[in-house]
Symmetry: C2
Subunit: 158 residues, 2 copies
DNA sequence: CTTATTGCAAAAGTTTTGCACTATA
DNA sequence: TATAGTGCAAAACTTTTGCAATAAG
């Protein structure tokens, strides 16, 4: 169980910035950790946290997520459905998981690739902007849905 | 002025799906077209539309954007600040503008690159998922903010 | 004791919905 | 005259904030 080492590191980051790792904050981290799926809405985090620490309040969850996000411990993601999702900062090995979102069935799958490093180098060279993270989503049609779509004339994309 | 041809095409798409190009919907499209900057919040679109058609209502703007989005005439974007942005479906030539978002000052600049085509080809080969669009955002620190940040030990990113 | 943190409830902000009215085929 | 579409206001939702109470150094 690497939970402890993760928590230790987070405690250090918090204390380095003058904050404490309170039971509530620890619970929020655990909620994110425990959940198999990685992208929880604030409400999801709240419910999960509530199970671990029944007295925790929703505002505290939001405040914890905000604080952890400012420390880059947590990433905030937007799926475009009106609510934010949160995930623990995945280690460098998971930095390159991107999402394939099917416009037909809505399925979200992951695709790993590190070709972005090239682009990031180019960005740095051309704009002096140093990339520390990125969010890449591809929209299109998954294999399954492509099979059921054979009506449109421009169906054979590129 | 290619506005008319754009509107004609949108009218066709609307009618093909059993809807009309009402003055309100036309105004929403014009608002998106006229605005130099491309990413308007719903409120922005509303204000712009209001200027063109004073009696238009906010709900109508939302409903128009929703409808146009369902026809892929409009794209809905999330910046992560709690409100959606909208842009007209940019032609293929503008398909590759990506965003550089500074974590320090929040500035959003654009970066154009087509290296994603390689990745998209790979995705298609490996997963049978056909990409029709993508959303790529890079997070990091812009030149200006990097200059003012020289405290953190790991400041010299990569 | 002094300050950070919390929970609750209220507030704020964005987006959606109900409904009567209007315009259009 | 049916039906899609609209404007207004209310409602719904997510997120933030004010504040008194609590916990921790």
């Amino acid at each position: 169980m690497k939970t402890n080492s993760i928590l230790r590191q987070i405690r250090e980051q918090l204390e380095a910035s003058g904050h404490r790792l309170t039971p509530q904050r620890e619970t929020v981290v655990k909620a994110l950790l425990q959940s198999g799926k990685r992208h929880l809405s604030a409400e999801n985090v709240f419910m999960e946290s509530k199970r671990l620490l029944p007295d925790i309040g929703l505002a505290t969850v939001y405040r914890s997520l905000e604080l952890l996000e400012s420390l880059n411990v947590v990433y905030k993601l937007e799926y475009g459905d009106g609510q934010s999702r949160y995930e623990l900062n995945p280690g460098s090995d998971e930095h390159y998981h991107h999402h394939l979102i099917c416009l037909e069935c809505g399925a979200i799958t992951e695709f790993n690739h590190d070709l972005l490093e090239e682009i990031e180098g180019k960005i740095r060279a051309e704009t002096q902007f140093v990339v520390t993270d990125h969010c890449l989503r591809f929209f299109g049609y998954c294999k399954k849905c492509r099979a059921s779509i054979d009506k449109s004339p421009e169906g054979s994309v590129t």
